[in-house]
């Protein structure tokens, strides 16, 4: 195991004091250290929001792109160089609203990308609007009479899309979270960890206490290979909220299926000299 200190970045942290993003930052460091991944071997792709600032606070490669576009960038990174560990990081608005289409299709595609979603059920950076995971009736500046939309269950969506690793973590339990993140990174295909993250500034409903009272760890009676059971678990939300690995399957990662990548990463390949002549010959 590496020393988590090697991931220390000298960038000043811009989160609110007490924000549970700090706990997620610790968990990410710990997971990387446990897996012996050196800073230059991993590349983060992040969006825009409070959550996606996280990789700036790590000493690791980072592409910090647009709101909602973490996953396509991550896919491009991974397919061009599958020797890199690629981790996408974003918020619930970033990933499930603006980036909702990429979420669905990244799961279908199953490239080996780890996806960490800081799910605070609110838009933090833009100061408190409703998010896809906001509960029914949740009052925000844009939903003064409460949200009317059925809250999205990202994990249920993930099971429906046959995502190959589906887990939920809680930022209030950084130790357990670190373990989940490490498993997600180690998983060969696309791996989702939806992380319950109290926002101490804008979400006065789904607080640390609120989550704390509800979350419970999935036990050995839950079989993550059972898709139908996973779907039901993925929708459990209310008095009890499960955390842990909800669903896994053994779909091979996209990289392993592509004949072009059999010889190694795309960036290390070159076009066959002979191929050029052949291509020209067809135009004759």
């Amino acid at each position: 195991m590496l020393d988590p200190e090697i991931y220390k970045s000298d960038d000043e942290v811009a989160w609110c004091p007490g924000c549970y993003n700090f706990a997620i930052l610790r968990a990410v460091k710990q997971a990387l250290a446990e897996l012996d991944i050196a800073p230059h071997q991993v590349m983060f792709s992040s969006g825009i929001g409070q959550a996606p600032k996280l990789p700036h606070y790590l000493k690791c490669n980072l592409f910090n792109g647009l709101h909602g576009r973490t996953l396509p960038v991550a896919t491009g990174l991974k397919l061009a160089n599958h020797a890199l560990h690629v981790i996408a990081e974003g918020g619930d608005g970033d990933g499930y609203a603006e980036g909702g289409n990429h979420f669905v299709h990244a799961m279908r595609r199953n490239a080996g990308v780890t996806y960490l979603v800081h799910d605070n059920q609110i838009y933090g950076l833009t100061k408190g609007q409703t998010s896809p995971t906001s509960d029914l009736g949740f009052v925000t500046a844009t939903t003064p009479y409460g949200s009317y939309n059925a809250p999205e269950h990202p994990l249920a969506l993930a099971v429906a899309c046959d995502c190959s690793f589906v887990a939920r973590g809680f930022a209030g339990d950084a130790e357990h979270l670190a373990g989940l993140i490490a498993r997600a990174i180690a998983h060969p295909g696309f791996a989702l960890v939806d992380i319950l993250q109290p926002c101490v500034t804008f979400n006065q409903v789904n607080t640390y206490q609120w989550y704390k009272q509800r979350v419970y760890q999935l036990g050995s009676d839950h079989d993550p290979a059972d898709r139908a059971a996973a779907f039901v678990k993925a929708m459990e939300w209310g008095d009890r909220i499960p955390v842990g690995v909800i669903y896994t399957n053994d779909r091979p990662p996209l990289e392993s299926l592509l004949p072009q990548l059999a010889k190694g990463p795309l960036i290390d390949q070159d076009i066959d000299g002979g191929a050029r002549e052949d291509l020209l010959a067809r135009f004759r």
Partner: protein, 572 residues
């Protein structure tokens, strides 16, 4: 001089494009220059589609206004195209249509009957028609047979032989019935030494150009007329090795995936048409800010919105120039034919890598869908130059900083994961390290850094290609109008107007000498395929030259020399 035009018309699904492809390939192999342009409706079957094949002994790159030969595959085509023929043009059609018209040169051929008798079934009427055309041109039938052999080889010998038999039957029939009736169709100046010419579509040229420039990754979402580029590359992923084509869920994913791949160190591109490009505008801005070498091929079609999906226009020039919020460096190349398309892609990848900024290659349906005969392509003409990209880092230089300030605005770039260094690419305003900043000073430096690249880009901009026929007027065009404008200049000479044709294969930045070069002409008239004169506005804005007039076409149909000449005369 040979200049023959054949139009093949019928309903979608009747195989007009098969006939034109066969004729074009056979004649290219004989050393002729061929240009096929396609006038298609946005549907799969039915409707009315036309392909025009123009044949010359000199390079040709635009359709003719009038045809010598019409191959009409249905009844409607005869009436629809009677007006598109030269006065003594001939019409070939199936003799099952009983047509009487003394004003037209009607050459009925039992296309389907011969196909059924000599080929496999009546669907081989295409081959019969090709044979008849070869006979009308008084050309030897063997080169046609050879070409059929190659084109259908994948379908097995029986198919090949049936097609050849059908073609010979059509040839024989026409020879018996019409021999000598049509002297003006004869390819009399048969070329003594057929060179090793190539025939390819503009889309193939774009894709081939990308391939030989080392493209490793294309992510795109299908959209006419750009899909052909994606499909060409997709089909060749295995044979070339090291190429990955990914169909994205939408254009936003496409551009962001390409950005991801480019960041990882692969030469990466996307391709689309106007509507898809609109969806990529935010990604383009992202590439500008994060300094990612991104190549975007935009195949224009008439807009706004869905517009005319299968037709041509140059209506997205100023949009391409300003697409994306905020200000950043970019270049726009606009090749005028297939040969320039290959070079444009090579240059685009080099510029993108050297300046670490997005480069747009602006084509259109006419460039992309037409078949062009080109002199053999020299893949190495534009050597690959990846700029400041490295996979090693000398630690004595200190820690690597992604946005290190430098005199030319371009920072060192490292392949992630190869050097032990970490790198931060950031879409916020950022420090040299790549972290988010709020500093006014850093902002000013970084804006200047990014825009400084325009200096270098301008210094090495392509200068316009002048086809010098005198200085009464400069007919200025960009992109796919190149050959139509040249031809128009030549035609104007016949009317006593000394017109030069000035072709821009790069629309932005303009070559610094542009003003000097155009200043010599008395008059500047800009020819473009849009309704608002976008290139004229660009030219004025960049050089101060206010064109005397504009010749515009915006009905989705390609420019011809005749159209330009007529409009020029009308300008007065």
């Amino acid at each position: 001089m040979v200049d023959l035009s054949i139009i093949v018309a019928g309903a979608a699904g009747q195989g007009m494009q098969t006939i034109s492809a066969i004729l074009a390939k056979a004649l290219t192999r004989q050393g002729y220059y061929v240009h096929c342009s396609h006038d298609l409706m946005s549907r799969i079957r039915g409707g009315h589609n036309v392909t025009a094949v123009r044949i010359s002994d000199r390079p040709v790159g635009a359709p003719a206004e009038r045809a010598n030969i019409l191959v009409a595959l249905d009844r409607d085509s005869i009436d629809l195209h009677a007006g598109d023929m030269v006065p003594d043009g001939v019409m070939v059609f199936d003799d099952k249509y009983k047509i009487q018209n003394e004003k037209l040169n009607l050459f009925p051929v039992p296309l389907e009957q011969l196909a059924a008798e000599h080929g496999r079934d009546k669907r081989m009427a295409n081959a019969v028609a090709c044979g008849a055309v070869f006979s009308l041109m008084s050309y030897d039938v063997d080169p046609l047979a050879d070409t059929l052999g190659d084109i259908f080889s994948a379908k097995g010998d029986p198919v090949v032989e049936a097609n050849i038999r059908a073609a010979r039957a059509g040839y024989g029939f026409a020879e018996r019935e019409f021999r000598g009736v049509c002297p003006y169709c004869t390819l009399h100046e048969q070329r003594a030494q057929p060179q090793r010419l190539l025939l390819l579509t503009g889309s193939e040229a774009i894709a081939y150009g990308a391939l030989v420039s080392g493209v490793r990754f294309l992510s795109a979402y299908p959209m006419s007329p750009a899909t052909a580029v994606m499909e060409y590359l997709a089909a060749r992923q295995r044979e070339v090795g090291g190429l990955l084509v990914e169909q994205a869920e939408d254009e936003i994913a496409a551009v962001n995936m390409a950005i991801g791949a480019a960041v990882a160190g692969a030469r990466a591109m996307t391709c689309t048409s106007g509507g898809g490009f609109a969806l990529m505008a935010e990604g383009l801005s992202l590439a500008g800010m994060t300094e990612v070498p991104l190549v975007v091929y935009v195949a224009q079609r008439p807009g706004p919105a869905t517009g005319f999906p299968t037709r041509t226009e140059q209506g997205d020039l100023l949009f391409a120039l300003h697409a994306g919020h905020g200000e950043f460096a970019r270049a726009i190349l606009c090749p005028g034919d297939a040969a320039e398309a290959v070079d444009a892609m090579a240059r685009a990848f080099n510029l993108a890598d050297r300046y670490q900024t997005p480069v747009i290659v602006l084509g259109d349906q006419q460039l992309g869908d037409c078949h062009w005969t080109v002199d053999t392509l020299d893949a190495g003409r534009v050597p690959i130059d990846r700029g400041k990209l490295r996979d090693t880092w000398d630690r004595s230089q200190g820690e690597y900083r992604r946005y290190q300030l430098s005199p030319d605005g371009v920072s060192p770039r490292l392949v992630p994961g190869k050097t032990g260094q970490v790198q931060y690419w950031d879409s916020d305003e950022h420090s040299e390290e790549g972290h988010i900043t709020e500093s006014a000073d850093v902002r000013r430096q970084m804006v200047a850094k990014r825009l400084h690249k325009m200096k270098g880009l301008a210094a090495e901009a392509l200068s316009p290609a002048v086809h010098d026929r005198g200085d009464d007027v400069a007919l200025v065009g960009f992109g796919s109008s190149k050959h139509a404008v040249r031809e128009a200049a030549d035609a104007l000479a016949g009317r006593g107007v000394k017109a030069s044709a000035v072709h821009f294969a790069q629309a932005y930045p303009l070559h610094p000498d542009t003003a000097g070069l155009l200043g010599e002409s008395l008059k500047v008239v800009v020819v473009e395929q849009n309704a608002t004169g976008q290139f004229a506005r660009l030219l004025h804005s960049e050089t101060g030259i206010r064109p005397h007039g504009s010749i515009l076409r915006f009905d989705g149909r390609p420019l011809t020399a005749q159209y330009i000449v007529d409009q020029y005369v009308a300008l007065g």
